[in-house]
């Protein structure tokens, strides 16, 4: 009996052992499966994306800052850009953003308005703020290169990124970098982002020719044979030739650096299934050479001196003047520190499958006396899965900086002065539209890339001081299959 009992216990033990081992392996396998489920997560970016963007900007106006607040402001700019987003793994994305901005500018060309006519050669000097010259600054190319690296936490509730970039043009170069951190909570209904950015910029100052020659040769700049103005006749407002012109207010730069430090906080919240908003607050400190060295200033308490046709002086501020140029009293001077505080609010509402309302408001304040409001409304209209038209309207206003005065209205006793109308009081209206074609299946292929989106955008901009501009932008987005 005992032997029989032992045999039964042995069988039971074997069964138990087998069950336990089976349970252990099944459980282990399940844990392994659970782990593999945990490790699977949607990629932040599914595959390589390439955007080709370009824009053409055209502007006209009659308040050129280079010629002291009057003159031709014609400007054209062409900006091709390429952006490549490369997923390093499920959580990390590397982005390269490379672009150029090639422009021609009538006002910048008038840093030296006498090039075309050859003032230094003793020929007829026919510079005018209303006529573009062939000066060194008449055209330029701005090149910018930026790289950023972004990382997302496994639960997709935390993101951080760093960026580094540089840009350079004929008279300006910049290097900058920054970092941001984003935290989501409340079932991803609430989002908070902190961002810091630093730009270390440097001017390679180009100053107006007459000031440059004075700075180089002192009070003899009209008699020194090496001077650009050697034996060139300078006339007073009566048209009488004189040697009294001296831009003696000009002092050479003590620093050519311009540093910008900014801190930003943004808070986003979903309010309902169709409504969400975001609040942005920036705090920006800029230090260094904050003025533009090429921009002339004229004092009302200084005598006026000209080069060119004396009969055109009476008509100087009219676009009909093509043959006389007012010589600068000084260049723009602005404080070496500026603190900017913009506060923005964006609210988006999903009306239905056809319409979405996007709205934006910004209030801006700085320590130079500027107060500004910006409103923008967009109404994307979806015709079908592929085509979308978005009408866009933007209103903007600003008060003037404390140091602004119109052409020939500054006092020489002031420490700071500018006649740049971009810093004056004005309002503007911008009206435009965007047309977008989206193919979610990227069926049109170019090599291994599928065309995902085609965008075309047009904006017309008008300021109440007479400046008007339009910009056309186009973009192609490709995704690697």
């Amino acid at each position: 009996m005992v032997v029989k009992q032992e045999a039964v216990v042995g069988v039971i033990n074997k069964v138990l052992l087998t069950f336990c081992l089976g349970f252990f392996f099944v459980a282990k396998a399940q844990v392994k499966n659970a782990d593999s489920l945990l490790t699977y997560r949607k990629k932040v970016l599914e595959s390589v994306e390439i955007d080709f963007l370009t824009s053409y900007y055209d502007q006209s106006g009659s308040h050129a800052a280079v010629t002291g607040g009057i003159g031709n402001e014609d400007l054209q700019d062409f900006s091709p850009t390429i952006i490549v987003r490369y997923p390093l793994n499920q959580d990390d994305v590397l982005t390269a953003d490379i672009g150029i901005s090639a422009y021609t500018s009538a006002s910048s060309s008038n840093g030296n308005p006498f090039n075309k006519s050859g003032a230094s050669g003793g020929g007829s000097s026919e510079g005018s703020p209303w006529v573009a010259s062939t000066g060194a600054s008449s055209e330029d190319i701005l090149t910018s290169i930026n790289f950023s690296y972004a990382h997302a936490a496994e639960d997709r509730n935390k993101y951080w990124s760093v960026n580094l970039g540089t840009s350079f043009e004929y008279d300006y170069e910049s290097i900058g970098g920054g970092a941001s951190y984003t935290k989501l909570w409340n079932e991803k209904n609430t989002e908070l982002t902190f961002k810091g950015q630093i730009f270390l910029d440097k001017w390679k100052p180009i100053i107006p020719t007459e000031v440059h020659e004075y700075n180089l040769y002192g009070s003899n700049f009209q008699t020194n044979v090496k001077s650009y103005f050697y034996e060139v006749s300078v006339i007073d407002k009566e048209g009488i030739s004189t040697g009294n012109y001296m831009p003696s207010k000009f002092k050479d730069f003590t620093s050519v650096n311009r540093n910008s430090y900014s801190g930003s906080i943004s808070f986003s919240q979903i309010l309902s299934k169709r409504l969400q908003f975001s609040v942005f607050l920036d705090y920006v400190i800029q230090e260094g050479l904050l003025s533009n060295p090429l921009q002339r200033v004229y004092f009302k308490d200084f005598e006026n001196y000209y080069i060119g046709n004396k009969n055109a002086i009476a008509n100087y501020t009219s676009p009909d003047n093509t043959s006389v140029f007012h010589l600068a009293d000084d260049i723009e001077r602005l404080p070496s520190q500026r603190i900017k505080t913009p506060l923005g609010l964006r609210v988006n509402y999903y009306i239905n499958e056809v319409f979405v309302l996007r709205s934006y408001y910004r209030y801006y304040i700085d320590n130079w006396g500027v107060r500004s409001n910006t409103f923008q409304f967009e109404l994307p209209i979806r015709f079908n899965m592929k085509w979308k038209l978005t009408p866009i309207y933007r209103y903007y206003d600003q008060t003037a900086v404390d140091y602004f005065a119109h052409y020939d209205q500054h006092n020489s006793s002031s420490s700071y002065y500018t006649s740049d109308y971009d810093l004056s009081a004005f309002f503007s209206n911008q009206l435009g539209a965007s047309l977008t074609y989206t193919d979610v299946f990227s069926s049109l292929k170019v090599f291994d890339f599928g065309l995902k989106t085609v965008s075309l955008r047009f904006q017309n901009y008008k300021r109440n001081d007479g400046l008007s501009a339009f910009i056309i932008s186009a973009g192609l987005s490709f995704v690697l299959d």
């Binding site: 043009e169 540093n259 920006v284 800029q286 979405v356 934006y360 600003q398 973009g475």
Partner: protein, 85 residues
């Protein structure tokens, strides 16, 4: 009149700080009350509902930074990196 302006500025600053504090309090109260579930976010996740500026807007923002004094508070450039305002 300078002292009057100074007092006015202080009051305005105080008001702004109070308003900012109220705004932040309101924001944090709002976030505690609302939680739309993931499966209900079909409209919120629509590309046009994104709270960032569309990528193509960068060119407009770029010329606005040159032609206007105010900049920033849109998740993009705040100033610096160009010989602009």
């Amino acid at each position: 009149m300078l002292w009057a302006e100074s007092i006015l500025l202080r009051i305005l600053k105080l008001k702004m700080i109070k308003q900012l504090f109220l705004l932040l309090t309101l924001l944090f109260l709002v976030q505690g009350c609302i939680a739309v579930k993931e499966y209900n976010k079909i409209y919120i996740n629509d590309t046009d509902m994104q709270l960032a500026s569309p990528g193509m807007e960068r060119f407009e923002t770029n010329f606005q930074i040159y032609r206007e004094t105010a900049a920033g508070a849109n998740g993009g450039k705040t100033g610096g990196g160009c010989g602009c305002n």
